[in-house]
Symmetry: C2
């Protein structure tokens, strides 16, 4: 087997727990929101689902041509917030400035409990980087907030197309000057790993609460099947 030299991480759901963090952010920045007749878990799941649809639609070559220019995840989250505010009938709850602020919730997510310890261990042996649909500034703010010790922040924003486009995975391995088989993609979503695998990357699945709901993933679909990042470190280093 080829030696693994770098690990690339999906971020939303894999490294950070967006469900809890976004809800806390909204209620912290707008405490009166608790009085609104809104199921916030559902609201946030819908926000996330709109993001999935957007990135999926824009993962195919030529897709971004429908835009005058590349639309970042930040811009999409903000646009989707308007849609959801309208759908849930809470148009008068927030000013435009408040919505701009709440749209930034995705910059300040908390890592899963093992994230900082696991990434720090993995960083001692490998290059570790993000490979997220999130744009650079979002990932920078998140890393500072959650103290994620990345060696490099790689984003679909650099490639102007979203995962699971092959251009993203192969663009990242090119920047790392590594062959795909020397790079391990880490994600809590099997669709991401299947796309990485089809580009020749190695794959590590990590089981995360609330991710890949309704999907059965078996260990033989991936190179590593792990319960968290510390477990992954142990598997990779035989410790």
């Amino acid at each position: 087997m080829a030696e693994i030299k770098a690990l690339l991480f999906d971020v939303f759901g894999t490294v950070v727990d967006w469900r809890t963090s976004v809800k806390e952010y909204i209620l912290d920045r707008s405490p009166e929101s608790i009085k609104l007749s809104v199921d916030w878990d559902e609201f946030i799941q819908e926000w996330r689902t709109l993001y999935y649809k957007f990135t999926s639609d824009n993962s195919k070559d030529g897709a971004t041509s429908v835009f005058s220019s590349f639309v970042s995840v930040d811009q999409q989250y903000r646009q989707a917030l308007d849609i959801l505010v309208d759908k849930h009938g809470i148009e008068s709850a927030w000013t435009e400035d408040q919505k701009d602020d709440i749209g930034k919730a995705w910059h300040y997510l908390e890592g899963w409990n093992d994230a900082v310890e696991g990434l720090t261990l993995l960083k001692s042996k490998f290059i570790i980087g993000t490979l997220s649909n999130g744009n650079l500034r979002l990932l920078i703010d998140m890393a500072k907030h959650a103290e994620l010790p990345w060696d490099v922040v790689l984003s679909c924003e650099l490639f102007k197309i979203y995962k699971p486009s092959p251009r993203v995975y192969l663009g990242a391995t090119d920047y790392l000057q590594l062959k795909p088989e020397n790079v391990l993609m880490v994600a809590a979503h099997i669709y991401d790993l299947e796309a990485a695998k089809s580009c020749g990357l190695r794959t590590a699945y990590v089981v995360r609460k609330g991710e890949d709901v309704g999907i059965t993933v078996s260990p033989d679909q991936v190179d590593y099947f792990s319960s968290d990042f510390v477990d992954l470190y142990k598997q990779l280093t035989d410790k």
Copy 2:
């Protein structure tokens, strides 16, 4: 004055001491080189000078069209090594593999004495990132080797053109989602700061031994004039 939210650093000479590090790397990887009739200080200065000529020639729009594709600094350092080996008449000293290895010397430079302490202080208050002609993998290896705690690694490789092209400075501020006046460019080379200034960025000069030789820089040419990164931190935070 606009609030400074991010600092972008030139790297070679500003953060790391390439003269000492490259010489030590060559003599470490190829100890028998000490017996060659070569002035290594001169050899390394010539290597660096070829790099300056290359990046300067390729900082103008349209310049890269002479290449079939973008040429990275790694590729250029390796090509320049062949030129210098020939010029100094030491063609038989190293194999191709040894030259490939020695060409990587620029990945493993040591920070100036204040670099890690200064960057760590600055990181506590601002986003800190590279903005170097060096390619991403070179900057990643260097950061791991010298323990440079970057929030983000930005490189001219992302823009396919070299400093002092305005596209580099403005491309970086775009990725940071900041106006140029909220970003401070830090360098030991006035040409870099003058180019940043013309794009609207703020400027911080740091005096480094061996850099900007023969050039007189006065404090009124820049927003901050500093002796090292700890001094810069004090000036920025009034401590």
